[in-house]
């Protein structure tokens, strides 16, 4: 797929709230973002749907969520283009694995992805962790974090709200 053709295709999406590269005639020089897309495609690691998903996630992180730094790398054996970035300057790098929604993974494959992706980060002590970015056909992206081992859930801290709710219910019943 050539960048110009991709740009035209991108324009045909009707969802205007998502950031999209503006369509350009082929004569203008490609923007940094489009260059990045070409770079992803040229890695020749994954099929075009996965690369497209990766590109959308790349744009969402950089432009939509203002991550200061996002780079891409390929996992050849697993046929995936992955992203590496951090949410803020102060935080450490995380791996984001973009995937179109129709792909399915077995648990074993997920583990493999986690191992290989975290090998990229070169942090042997920290637990295996990736963010799975699931891209829908309408370009909605949901992010879920996968970590090796047992991660305790956050304790419920809104006990005050709960009490208020129950108190309000009781009052309603009493004064009916």
């Amino acid at each position: 797929m050539r960048p110009g053709a991709v740009a035209a295709q991108l324009c045909s999406h009707t969802c205007s709230s998502r950031l999209r590269p503006v369509a350009r005639p082929a004569a203008h020089p490609p923007s940094a973002r489009e260059r990045r897309f070409t770079e992803m495609m040229s890695m020749d690691v994954a099929d075009s749907t996965q690369v497209y998903a990766a590109f959308l996630v790349y744009l969402d992180l950089l432009e939509g969520r203002n991550w200061p730094e996002v780079t891409c790398f390929g996992l050849g054996e697993l046929q995936l283009v992955c992203l590496q970035g951090r949410e803020r300057e102060t935080e450490s790098f995380q791996v984001v694995v973009p995937t179109p929604v129709h792909m399915s993974f077995s648990h074993e494959r997920i583990r493999e992805i986690m191992k290989k992706a975290c090998a990229q980060l070169d942090k042997p002590d920290s637990p295996l962790s990736v963010i799975l970015a699931i891209v829908e056909s309408d370009s909605t992206i949901v992010y879920y974090k996968l970590t090796d081992g047992f991660i305790m859930p956050d304790p419920p801290d809104d006990t005050e709200d709960k009490d208020n709710k129950q108190w309000r219910k009781k009052r309603k019943k009493l004064f009916k």
Binding site: M103, I131, I134, L146
Partner: protein, 287 residues
Amino acid sequence: MLRIHVLAGQALVWRFEDAREIRERHRLVGTLVGALARTPRQNVRLGLPLQLLPEEARLLAEMGAAVLVRSADAQPQGQSAQASEGQLYEQGLEESYQEQRRLAAQERWAQLANLAECIAQGRARKQQQRGKLPDTAPLPGPTEEQEHLESAFVFPHESMMVQLPTVWPCPGQEEQVDWTQPSRDWPHAGHQEHETRYCVFRDLWGRGYYVTSGSKFGGDFLVYPGDPMRFHAHYIALCCPPGAPLPLCDIVAAARLGTSVKKTVLLCSAGEDGVVIYTSLQWSGLQ
């Protein structure tokens, strides 16, 4: 030795001592599924039997702490045998009724004796009201009421107390069930799904958690850090058979549910070497 009765794949514990030991000594929870004799028509508090998950029953059998038993097929009883059993029961009921009636009559007699004085005074007052002369002092001996007690005493059958036995009477012989072989009453042995679930269950239990059924939250197990009476569950365990693909929609659904009920979703799968690997699934926190 704990006895677990199996019936069509379900594992039931009928003795309360066994149920207690299973919870206190072996850290297995199970579910109470029986109606309480005194409060039958509600589902808040249930009683024996305790139903165990197939994995719980297998764990106890594997540890050697319990045996799986089933009732031997009942010998078809002849009509006459059944009739005589019924007759015996009716006879027993009638005897109990007569005994209860006798005791009730005795009590009534004693009651009347206690109140004899009050009754006499009441009668005297009435006679005065009607203008008659009061009788002389009440005579000793049985009062009128007491004399008529035998004929006038009413003790209807509905007032009778009937005992309902709540310990399961074993109707026939019991025979042991081999949990390693699939059979009519224990079909789980050898099924891949059961093996995977059991591997995960045993590993979680071995780590000191309390593990119960997770069907209320769309998972296989709920994992508690302590007794479920004292703690909320921390994890919803989803067992993944080896090599089975997980649709991403299911992953999103499970993670979303976990976030909204404040539990972490654990994807669990058992490797060939028996080692179980866990992946925690959480919301990423990206707004």
